[in-house]
């Protein structure tokens, strides 16, 4: 933790100098505003409107002046900030750096805190149906993020087609459950195994690829799976999807209002649809935690160290007698397995799946969660999933603008914390004392 403290000390802002060159700043801002005005007049000041007599020009001069005014104020603020003894970018960077440095520092307490909060969330009074549904969604992405973290964060293999395994898991569960009438708990491991198998099938052809080439092939793989699901109508029912997927049961007790063996009956409760959602919440929480615990354990095993070594330097790995083929395939298989299990949960929660749920944007979101959270960091990935998916829902009223905000937030984080929220690496084994390893030393894989 020593490194984190020293960086924090460096990031303390220098005292602002009291004198500003106000005149110079205003002049410079004025010039910028003038340029903005010149640009804004043709772009903003006129607009064509369709009216009864044809197209009519509507004048909107105020818009151009408003744009110039905004540029003036912004430029002036930037100037003043720069003059106060620091570069605005560094200043902002320091502010953000300072405000997120605690993430690494306190992640030891953060993780148990988040876990306890997650466990007791359903008993809070504000946990209505909307909150619980959202939490289930967030946890699904946490699990997917942790699964992909094995491939991208630990083994350093850039996988843009992770959604393929999510789809394989979902369809494997749906098809087996619908055709063979097996329960969720039986099908889930099968779905995981199927996804792992597909992970290996994808792994073989891409063994020799690195970086951009690997990304392109995995991207194509994701699309292939989706298009096969779309066109193999006999098996997958094509674009119509599969409906009537059985819901999970609590040791055989169903979550229904009426019936023989219902959960509410057995425990003498009055039926409420919330019971099923809370149950789903705990199921996905448990699955996500399983992913996390297994990943943490794997990191401390030789296979996990070999993944990280592979990310750092593949040639050195081979010179030490490590079979990089097997190492890569296990990373793909285990990552895919968790994706498949998450997929089977998705299918059972929705009760209906179609290829539309498994488009490239899903892969992109999962990858964004991993990259924003910090490659290889479990807590970082969880925070990023909450922020991204939760934030996405929070700004739902803003409609399309939320994509803008989303993009802007991504750009800002990548500028100021290019290695993600928690960029430091914790050693998997220690001789004397545990020290975090700075992000600049840790390889990103290629």
């Amino acid at each position: 933790m020593a490194t984190a403290k020293s960086t924090r000390a460096q990031q303390t802002l220098p005292a602002a100098s009291p004198k500003f060159d106000l005149v110079g700043g205003v002049r410079e801002a004025g010039i910028a505003a003038l340029i903005a005005l010149v640009l804004a007049i043709p772009l903003l000041s006129e607009r064509t409107v369709q009216e009864a007599g044809g197209l009519v020009l509507v004048s909107r001069w105020w818009l151009a002046f408003a744009a110039a005014g905004i540029v003036f104020a912004g430029r002036l603020a930037l100037n003043l900030l720069q003059q106060s003894g620091r570069d605005a970018r560094d200043g902002l960077s320091a502010v953000i750096g300072r405000n997120t440095a605690w993430l690494g520092d306190t992640s030891r307490f953060l993780a148990p805190g988040m876990l306890i909060f997650a466990v007791i969330l359903p008993i809070f009074p504000f946990s209505d149906r909307y909150i619980m549904d959202l939490s289930v969604l967030v946890l699904t992405y946490v699990m997917l993020g942790w699964g992909l973290n094995i491939v991208v964060g630990l083994a350093g293999l850039l996988d843009l087609g992770y959604v393929a395994f999510y789809a394989v898991g979902a369809y494997a569960y749906a098809i087996i459950a619908v055709h063979f009438d097996l329960s969720f708990w039986v099908c889930m491991p099968i779905a995981g195994a199927m996804a792992a198998l597909w992970g290996i099938i994808l792994g073989f052809p891409v063994l020799r690829l690195r970086g951009d080439y690997l990304a392109i092939v995995t991207l194509a793989f994701g699309e292939i799976i989706r298009i096969v699901l779309l066109n193999w109508t006999d098996l997958t029912n094509g674009p119509n999807g599969i409906s009537g997927i059985p819901r999970p049961t609590f040791f055989g007790l169903e979550f229904k209002a009426i019936g023989d063996n219902t959960f509410a009956d057995f425990f003498g409760l009055t039926y409420s649809p919330l019971q099923r959602i809370v149950f789903l919440y705990y199921v996905i929480l448990m699955l996500a935690l399983l992913t996390c615990v297994v990943t943490i354990r794997l990191r401390r095993l030789p296979v996990g160290r070999a993944w990280e070594a592979l990310r750092e330097d593949e040639i050195a790995c081979r010179s030490l007698g490590i079979n990089t083929t097997n190492t890569k395939l296990t990373a793909f298989a285990i990552g895919a397995m968790f994706g498949g299990i998450a997929g089977s949960f998705f299918a059972t929660r929705q009760g209906f799946i179609s290829p539309e749920s498994f488009t490239f944007i899903e892969s992109a979101i999962i990858l964004a969660i991993v990259v924003l959270g910090g490659l290889g960091s479990q807590v970082g990935v969880a925070i990023a999933a909450v922020v991204l998916i939760g934030g996405f829902e929070l700004f739902r009223e803003l409609e399309l603008y939320r994509m803008l905000i989303f993009g802007l937030a991504m750009v800002l984080i990548m500028v100021w914390r290019p290695r993600g929220l928690i960029a430091t690496r914790t050693p998997s084994v220690v001789l004397k004392d545990r020290k975090a390893i700075g992000a600049d030393l840790v390889g990103e894989g290629r």
Partner: protein, 305 residues
């Protein structure tokens, strides 16, 4: 010749040829590295030394030639018979323990280290920079730890046998850290170490694979005289512990100081082979080094001393 290395070779390079398109980097090279000896491979820049190394360690597939490693001393004739049978068989290795013979040109690089137990270092250091010094050494013991963890299954379940094996591996690493004087930095990232320490760490990491033959590609490059002397001591102690060493080196102080046997390459061909004394006075060697100021001086100084 009757030299010690001919009597009991650990590595036998026969007619090694490596072509890259029209360029013949190594041309019909034959030499042996003796068991429990330090063999140096020297030569002017571009002579093909690193290519030979890459062929031996499996990173290149040689165009022609046989590269054999024998683990046991055994009878020379019996060893030769076994090798001939292995060559005919199309297999990669034969026998176990002391009897084992390996054909390196048939093996991928990871098997060269894992099975034939030939480890290497690199000219430009290739440590796992973002992993700690200790993690670097544990990664080198991957194969034995992998077996101990029941190929991960036992490790996931937390079987005690794995934790015992890991404790042993950490202890083995700690002993190596003591030898290279880096125990206090065991939990620092390898990338944070000074250059000289990184060189020593890379050697220790290669030794953690428990090799019978250690191949070092310019281990003294970039070291100051004091570090260079430390390196000599370390390499001698490795040899005295029973391993054999093959090294490429430009630093003549290191080469002349510690080698038992020197092979000189020029334009991919062997121009001299013998003890340091013999090589130093070989006119062919002096001629090859003429015009390359640094090395020439070093050889000339050695010759007149």
């Amino acid at each position: 010749m009757g030299a010690t290395w001919d009597a009991d070779p650990i590595l036998d390079v026969e007619h090694l040829t490596m072509r890259f398109g029209g360029l013949t980097a190594v041309d019909d090279l034959s030499f042996v590295a003796g068991r429990n000896e330090i063999t140096a491979l020297i030569g002017p820049n571009g002579a093909g030394k690193t290519t030979v190394f890459n062929c031996i360690t499996g990173f290149y597939k040689p165009s022609e030639g046989r590269l054999s490693v024998r683990h046991g001393r055994g009878d020379a004739k019996e060893g030769a018979d076994r090798l001939a049978r292995l060559t005919m068989s199309g297999r990669r290795h034969r026998g176990r323990g002391e009897d084992a013979v390996f054909l390196l040109e048939r093996m991928p690089e990871n098997e060269v280290t894992a099975k034939a137990r030939v480890a290497r270092t690199f000219q430009n250091i290739r440590l796992f920079a973002g992993m700690t010094v200790l993690e670097n050494l544990l990664t080198a013991q991957h194969n034995s730890l992998m077996r101990a963890s029941g190929f991960t299954v036992g490790g996931i379940l937390g079987l005690p046998s794995y934790y015992r094996a890991q404790a042993q591996a950490i202890e083995f690493s700690r002993q190596w850290l003591e030898r290279i004087d880096l125990v206090d930095r065991a939990d620092d990232a390898a990338g944070e170490l000074p250059y000289g320490d990184q060189r020593r760490l890379e050697i220790a990491r290669a030794m953690c694979t428990k090799p019978v033959l250690l191949c070092l590609d310019e281990p003294a490059a970039g070291l100051n005289p004091r570090e260079s002397a430390q390196l000599n001591t370390l390499l001698r102690s490795i040899r005295d512990d029973g391993a054999s060493i093959l090294l490429i080196e430009h630093d003549m102080a290191v080469v002349m100081g510690i080698s038992d046997h020197i092979v000189v390459l020029d334009y991919g061909q062997k121009i001299s082979d013998g003890t340091p004394e013999a090589v130093r006075e070989d006119p062919a060697v002096i001629a090859a080094y003429l015009g390359i100021a640094d090395d020439d001086n070093a050889v000339a100084q050695g010759a007149t001393r």
